[in-house]
């Protein structure tokens, strides 16, 4: 940008910051090419560069009333462009990372899986000590005789549960199950 254009931009942005809406067109016509060429030079994709430049322009005008007269306008405007390019790059990096590593299990997921595996191994060990009749009574195996009276089935289940508790206590030391 030439020196006279920079000076015009300084004056126009200072006027806009003070509330003079007439300066809007001048700031727009000078700031938009700066942001657009900056985004195009820093990003490979022209469509993405256009989006980034537009977002930076909106942020620039949204903050225009905070511009302090006496400061140089060009570095202030370029800061908006660079920040927006950085945001866009980190967003696309995050997107790429998610595509390459889809849903890595979190440490808490891994811990839960290990605990469940331990519990299943302990359960298999206990169930191995039970007789077939006990497993049928506990509903862990089929082939219950339909003719068995409900009271008898209940009694068998109670006895099977009692033996299961004893087996758990014998192997693991506490009354779980």
């Amino acid at each position: 940008m030439r020196a006279d254009a920079r000076a015009r931009l300084d004056r126009a942005l200072a006027r806009l910051a003070g509330g003079e809406r007439e300066a809007f067109d001048e700031v727009f016509s000078l700031a938009w090419p700066v942001l657009r060429s900056l985004a195009l030079s820093l990003l490979k994709d022209p469509a993405e560069a256009e989006d980034v430049a537009q977002r930076a322009l909106m942020k620039l005008f949204s903050s225009a009333s905070r511009f302090e007269p006496g400061r140089s306008a060009l570095p202030w405007i370029v800061t908006f462009g660079i920040n927006e390019v950085r945001t866009s790059r980190s967003r696309s990096r995050r997107r790429t990372h998610e595509e390459v590593c889809p849903r890595m299990p979190s440490p808490s997921d891994l811990e839960t899986e290990l605990l469940e595996a331990d519990l299943q191994a302990a359960l298999h060990q206990i169930l191995g000590t039970l007789t077939d009749d006990d497993r049928i009574a506990l509903g862990l195996a089929s082939a219950e005789d339909a003719s068995t009276a409900p009271a008898t089935r209940r009694k068998r289940k109670q006895r099977a549960l009692s033996r299961l508790r004893q087996a758990w206590r014998r192997i693991h030391g506490t009354a779980g199950a």
Binding site: G18, D25, F28, L57, K59, F61, S62, S65, R66
Partner: protein
């Protein structure tokens, strides 16, 4: 980029600018809150809240419009705070109870007169009629938050004091600039 697209982009940017100014104007009126809180605790709550709401609305509008009017807000707050504090101190110290009441009526007018002179030297000048008018409104409303406790006659004293103090100072500055 097509000219139509550029026009649409400019319209969006203009909206973003106005929204940004609106946000800044709301943020700029925060001094009204502590001033109103003090006035409401010491003075009367109802009328204080009404005056504070009007003051906040006026200040937000002035900051939003800009064009130098935002300068009037800060200066007006400072100028109006002096008669407000004097009035609230007299009210809280029972200095205006009973027979002393007639003496209290000018207690808002006198500080307002002095503050009006200060206001004239601070922001007066050629071509600044709108800024001076805006500062007069903001300082009157700020002072009223305290002076209303001393009666509605005090409010008249505030406006007259500020106007009498500010007017001549402003006129002298304009005359000096013409010479």
């Amino acid at each position: 980029m097509e000219p139509q697209e550029l026009d649409r982009l400019a319209a969006r940017a203009r909206r973003a600018y106005e929204l940004g100014r609106a946000r800044s104007s709301i943020a700029a009126v925060w001094p009204v809150l502590p001033i109103a809180a003090v006035a409401a605790v010491v003075g009367e709550v109802g009328i204080t809240l009404v005056l504070a709401a009007v003051l906040a609305g006026v200040c937000a509008t002035l900051v939003f419009v800009g064009r130098g009017l935002d300068v009037a807000v800060e200066t007006g707050f400072k100028a109006g705070a002096v008669p407000m504090v004097v009035a609230l101190a007299l009210w809280e110290g029972q200095g205006c109870a009973g027979p002393a009441m007639p003496w209290c009526m000018p207690m808002c007018a006198i500080p307002s007169l002095l503050v009006g002179i200060w206001l004239g030297t601070k922001i007066g000048g050629r071509g600044r009629a709108k800024v001076v008018g805006a500062a007069l409104v903001v300082s009157s409303l700020t002072a009223s938050l305290g002076c209303v406790a001393l009666g509605f006659g005090s409010l008249l004293g505030v406006v007259l004091g500020l106007a009498v103090g500010l007017g001549p100072t402003w006129a002298v500055q304009i005359a000096a600039a013409r010479r």
